[in-house]
Symmetry: C2
Subunit: 598 residues, 2 copies
């Protein structure tokens, strides 16, 4: 079996649970059919297995190094990205008008997911480039787009996003990087940016850094932030590369995982002028950056899910081939050992991984399908409806896989035992890679506050109502299937409890106390969403079984995973929401000196 | 503040919650008083901060390497162990009759805990030696003890335990290493041992490997396993070192964490005769090994707890000194940033760490005190009572910290954000180190089956009854404190549910199904035990507050942590036990082909 993708499951989600077929019938995506999608995924899988996966462990052990003010990566990174470019995959994310392939986002994500599972740190360079380019396409002037976009779409130049500074991580209000107008439409950028993935590398001809900075005289805090396009190498009017733009690599961060992607401290305008171009309006930087951030946040959730998938597939393959011990009732040491996939607790750990990972996978694919549906919708009301649904799902897409697919990675190590703890097997690497995802693109806490403090109330609670309606539609579809009745009841109970919890939080005399347990709320609502998506999968699996065919094991496994999620996981929601609704102030009341005493 | 120990808390646990003072009044430990204990802990802390901690990151980045059939460690490892030996600390674990210091185990653990927090992989060598030597002291012949024990007690020779083989990890019934009697009382050992921590190193004059092997003709399975002492270098009758004993280092394992301790694949009797000595009777190997294993298992739990403590203390110190963001109600970006310890979710993450780590710490110290009490008890009934209590607590001591203090490490990284994810800060190292603890000395699953399949039923349920009685004694002590009434009620409810769950499992027509969710049971019972120990701490803290003095913040922090555990954690017990009692077969029924389809 492949350890980087389960194609059967991908097909199940795209064609049996979601409606990719429907998308492919629209004008926007009409150039593609299922056969074309298959071919693209075949290509991606081949590239993943033949080119990306073989050096993933080597790259982890040989992270990029700082040499003479620059970066050196092992040659395989550049070779793999060249193959990716050669295959035309840099262009999958863009519209025809920008020179792209205009693939459905759903397919774009699926193909990149396969490669991410094979070697995530390499794909990061493409992911960052696609994010930066899509933001430029959305917010940049025609002139700026003409100058920079084609080279990004082609994969000749890479992109980054530069938000954080050493003193300003989560708190963007406190950034200090300055952008002073030169008078010719450009700005002199000075300051230091931290945690810049791909901020320096030896892989592309140029790097397009998307930088948040403040124009002198602009308002304090986030209201005075503007967005600038700052190339590593200046670009002449004829499109050729000009002078160096004086972005100095001040240092590389040495991470626990995800080591193959450089992560940098950059100094702008230190040794000479660093010139940048305003993207969008002055002081509109944060809003414009969020064009990229929401996409990036779903992308982070995808990365977390894929790391979980890698661990799951590898540990499953291992468990089916590793003999160890005997069934509990067999005390005869002379009988042969059984495969560890026969042991109850190994089954439990594999099932938990399956439930977390495939649940998260559908969440990410569902969000991708929404992005596509939004693009093909003609009714403005429908566009707005989808936008609100995406708003409320984004913090869950980002955070739930970061929490629970990391848990899956932990279990994958446990399945392999001592072997899982060594660098000779990939499961510990996935675990290390995945730990990042709860931190970047907004921490766990930030998404907790985002959902409970903002998203559930936005547009008068409309986003939450739309989500509820989607869930009710699935419950309605489950009607008549007696085996799903208990799940539907659990979902309805949980939905009612979510409403009660929001009301309780809203009635808190101190709003900050109401939000003190927001991360607990975020996890709990995430569980309800994943439970709903498991019910969706179960309904599709039931239909698949009813249609007969050879996939009985696959479909019955889906039904079992749904059952697992509702029996092992959903009951936890009640406890968590009760805690949030109780406005418990145990932690909130603490003072810093109470932890260890004076 | 120190980031390797909270001495105030250590004192609180030893003198206010437990009764070290009482132990120091017994004949066995009468040579020590509180002042002497303070001096030993001072010494340990000084050694930890000055010698062990400074090179912990360097050792992690420069793990021992395989050179010319041997191992090379960075010189600091040998220097630190020499300082440990120089300070006399190798001898803390042994009785006077074996040349040791005969310290209470409670103090022995506390002082080694401080050093483990400073640099765990270095202390492992001492820990393994002490375990092997204590087993030799308990089971070896006088002749064998005379030859090997003094050099181990002095720290000139180190010890190991060699159980696993490449094909036999958890399943010791399947080991193949052979021991053939030579006729002169020695045995020729042939075979391969895997995962041997400290199995080869360049640190001690000799290595005493304690090896499980089978004598030809012995019964199949675990009943035919014997234990052998196998020195790396043979020892002449006059105690001098003789010929090499032909134990070949076949390879080093490259682990995710805990990198400073070598972990080896060893070949015995490959290039020449490897001679060993029988320890204890023929075919008694497993029982004898368990003299060392139970101690080792509590030691693993201690290591897990200490890794959690290291992350907790570091992240707390960081949070109290890192300015970032403002209170939620303050929208003015021109006001100064606050320390992140002011943010509600950071408080929650610090509090969760405190609750997990300090809960686990008391568990480990309570178990250590039981070991001491057992040694000073004169009444055989009391000795038996303590033995049973230790039996039922051992799987919890091993597993609960491995699960929840790893969770604490995850949160420590989150508190530091991006910095926490880099190797420039120690929190990610603790996280990597800690992941091992759920695997070695019996996996999570093995301890689940141990407690639910064996320990709760042993001696007609006597062990569980003794545990219940201990908990009831604490509940009785809480009587009259109205603020603890709710906690007592929660504990009583949980204890009743544990009994019901065991009954339900016992009534399963298929005993293997009854045990299918044993790990869930293990975690839940662990939660109840930790809750009880938090109540113990709260009672002591209340007494401390009533006595007045300057420690108000410390004591009120303890009360808050107890409240946190009962409000945030104990409610989860109900859900988990309901699942176990339901004899849910979702995972148990799965076949290997249902996971991803054919």
């Amino acid at each position: 079996m492949s350890t980087i993708v389960n194609r059967r499951d991908l097909d199940f989600m795209m064609y049996e649970v979601l409606d990719l077929e429907g998308l492919l019938k629209t004008e926007r995506y009409g150039d593609y059919d299922r056969e074309a999608v298959d071919a693209i995924l075949d290509l991606s899988q081949e590239l993943g297995e033949d080119v990306f996966q073989p050096f993933a462990a080597k790259l982890d052990a040989n992270e990029p190094i700082f040499v003479d003010g620059g970066v050196e990566s092992i040659p395989e990174v550049g070779e793999a990205l060249a193959a990716y470019k050669e295959a035309g995959l840099f262009g999958t994310a863009y519209d025809y008008e920008n020179g792209g392939m205009q693939l459905p986002w759903l397919v774009h994500q699926a193909l990149n997911g396969i490669l991410t599972c094979a070697n995530g740190p390499v794909v990061s360079y493409a992911f960052l480039t696609q994010g930066a380019a899509n933001m430029l396409a959305a917010c940049g002037s025609e002139e700026l787009k003409a100058k920079f976009l084609p080279k990004m779409v082609s994969g000749d130049w890479y992109g980054t996003m530069c938000l954080s500074e050493p003193q300003a991580g989560s708190s963007l209000a406190d950034i200090r990087t300055k952008a002073e107008p030169v008078g010719d439409g450009t700005y002199k950028i000075t300051g230091t940016k931290m945690w810049i993935s791909g901020g320096a590398q030896d892989l592309s001809e140029n790097i397009v850094e998307m930088v948040l900075a403040k124009i002198p005289g602009s308002p304090a805090g986030v209201k005075g932030i503007s967005l600038f396009l700052v190339p590593k190498v200046r670009v002449n009017d004829d499109g050729s590369l000009g002078e160096d733009n004086n972005i100095a690599l001040a240092g590389l961060n040495h991470k626990m995982g995800n080591r193959g992607t450089t992560n940098c401290l950059l100094n702008f305008g230190e040794s000479g002028d660093t010139l940048g171009y305003l993207v969008g309006g002055e002081n509109q930087g944060l809003a414009n950056m969020f064009h990229m951030m929401n996409e990036a946040r779903i992308g982070v959730g995808m990365g977390a899910m894929i790391a979980g998938l890698g661990g799951y597939l590898y540990s499953l393959d291992y468990a089916r081939n590793r003999p160890q011990g005997r069934h509990l009732h067999n005390k005869d040491p002379e009988t042969p050992q059984v495969m560890i996939s026969e042991h109850a607790d190994v089954k439990r750990m594999l099932m938990a991984q399956k439930a977390y990972v495939e649940g998260a996978q559908l969440l990410i694919m569902y969000a991708a399908e929404l992005i596509d549906k939004q693009k093909v919708a003609s009714d403005p009301e429908e566009v707005k409806r989808i936008a609100l649904l995406l708003e409320i799902l984004t913090p869950i897409c980002k955070s739930w896989p970061s929490e629970f697919c990391l848990e899956a990675n932990k279990l994958a190590i446990q399945v392999l035992g001592g072997y899982g703890y060594t660098r000779e097997y990939p499961v510990e690497r996935y675990y290390r890679d995945n730990r990042l995802n709860h931190i970047h693109e907004g921490t766990w806490a930030i998404h907790g506050i985002d959902i409970l403090g903002r998203k559930v109330r936005m547009a008068d609670g409309a986003a939450l109502k739309i989500l509820n309606a989607e869930i009710q539609a699935t419950i309605a579809a489950a009607d008549g299937h007696a085996e799903f009745a208990a799940y539907c009841a659990q979902l309805n109970t949980a939905l009612a409890q979510i409403d009660e919890t929001i009301a309780a939080v809203g009635s808190s005399p101190d709003p900050a106390l109401g939000l003190a347990n927001a991360t607990v709320f975020l996890d709990a609502v995430g569980h309800v969403v994943i439970a709903w998506l498991w019910l969706k999968q179960a309904i599709a699996a039931q239909a698949g079984l009813a249609n007969g065919g050879e996939d009985t094991a696959f479909y019955s496994g889906k039904l079992a995973a749904c059952q697992f999620f509702f029996r092992y996981e959903v009951p936890k929601v009640n406890t968590d929401l009760e805690l949030v609704a109780s406005l418990d102030s145990t932690c909130y009341d603490l003072t810093a000196d109470q932890f260890v005493g004076s």
